[in-house]
């Protein structure tokens, strides 16, 4: 099947330049409501990725799960959102958790160290470690709903984003099946640990 020359007109350099000019020159889209219910979902989605300390910990959970293999790989991402939501609920009903920022920073250090050391642990122990730190993350972030937004959609977005970060961690951690991948994973663990130390320094300073 031959392609006619006329059908390739879009490849004309002038047309391409006009096309790219249009792409880089977007106007404001007024088609969407950026407040209220839709805003609540987007706020929830964007909240977990708004702080590097949280992103590091959530990806580290996925990395460690992948390193531990099944069933931990799947059970840790089941436990983390539930315990995180439990922490968020504690914050919302006014039960204080001491040392929130320190707890979040220490979660990075501990999870990074566990990945660095390729630490094997019984599944109950791994669930307890992850669940304990998830409470700090939930307490810090679950309560920050902006006025006028829908709490249900905010919560949905928040939980979906957290789960997606775990999935990214698991996907990255799958390199563990190759010898060089194991090394890469341990290096990633050391980076998470270094990040945790930095955040601990910031929390205590």
């Amino acid at each position: 099947m031959k392609i006619k020359a006329s059908s390739l007109k879009l490849c004309n350099p002038v047309h391409l330049c006009v096309f790219f000019l249009m792409l880089v020159w977007p106007l404001v889209a007024w088609a969407h409501v950026e407040s209220g219910q839709a805003g609540g979902f987007v706020s929830g989605l964007s909240h977990p990725v708004s702080g590097l300390d949280h992103v590091l910990a959530m990806i580290a959970v996925g990395l460690w799960g992948a390193q531990l293999g099944s069933p931990a790989m799947w059970l840790l991402p089941v436990a983390f959102p539930m315990m995180m939501a439990f922490g968020g609920m504690l914050g919302l009903i006014g039960i204080p958790v001491p040392g929130i920022e320190v707890g979040i920073a220490v979660s990075g250090i501990v999870l990074g160290a566990l990945i660095l050391g390729e630490t094997k642990m019984p599944i109950i122990g791994a669930l307890l470690v992850v669940g304990f730190f998830a409470i700090f993350h939930g307490h810090a972030h679950g309560t920050e709903l902006e006025a006028g937004q829908n709490a249900m959609l905010y919560s949905l977005g928040f939980v979906i984003c957290t789960g997606t970060l775990h999935a990214i961690g698991i996907a990255m951690g799958l390199v563990h099946r190759w010898p060089s991948g194991r090394l890469v994973l341990r290096v990633a663990g050391s980076l998470v640990m270094a990040g945790g130390l930095f955040f601990l320094w910031s929390a205590l300073a």
Partner: protein, 201 residues
């Protein structure tokens, strides 16, 4: 043949000259409330999460549990909805609505091996709770059984699709993904309890 051809023109003219009302549109067909009800589930996360959680649970427990759920859930929802429509007071207990999908989410995450009748009973309880609240809310805004019928048909279709999808899953990781979805629903429920206590939910 020529005689038949001659008859076509006057028949067509007569048909054109005697039109009936077009009932293809919602205004004339009276199906507006039906579609309002059908859309209701899509814009009511509380109802939708409960529905999805119980159908995920039914799917995890097998085809017999799913078959029972697909019929018990809409029937219970509709029956309770009709009761809600005739009640003189508006009933809405947000904590019960949240608790219903929170418990279902926890059950999906835990993946217990329940008997199909137990799953059907759970689906019935969930249907009664949400149906009663739906019917009561519809009565408050003056909507009738047609809106309820729209809700019933939509939830039957969603229940059928979700449970059939889960029953068909064979790879272990896909069934674990279903359990992860259950944990997310439970997590949303816990956060919603917090918001409720705080007075924001």
């Amino acid at each position: 043949m020529r005689k038949t051809g001659k008859l076509i023109v006057p028949t067509l003219a007569l048909t054109v000259l005697s039109p009936h009302a077009a009932v293809a549109h919602l205004v004339t067909s009276g199906l507006g409330p039906f579609y309002d009800g059908a859309l209701h589930l899509a814009i009511s996360p509380e109802d939708l999460l409960g529905l999805i959680a119980v159908t995920l649970l039914a799917g995890l427990c097998g085809s017999r549990a799913s078959r029972l759920t697909v019929f018990v859930l809409p029937l219970a929802w509709l029956a309770a909805g009709l009761v809600g429509l005739i009640l003189p007071v508006t009933i809405y207990l947000p904590w019960l609505s949240i608790l219903s999908f929170l418990v279902m989410g926890v059950l999906v995450a835990a993946n217990p091996k329940f008997h199909p009748n137990t799953i059907a009973a759970l689906a019935g309880i969930l249907g009664v709770i949400h149906g009663l609240f739906n019917g009561s809310a519809l009565a408050a805004i003056g909507a009738g059984p047609m809106a309820l019928a729209g809700i019933g048909v939509t939830l039957f279709v969603i229940a059928l699709l979700v449970s059939a999808l889960v029953v068909s899953l064979r790879a272990s990781w896909t069934r674990i993904a279903v359990r992860v979805a259950g944990s997310w629903i439970a997590a949303v429920g816990m956060l919603m309890f917090g918001w409720l206590v705080k007075g924001t939910g």
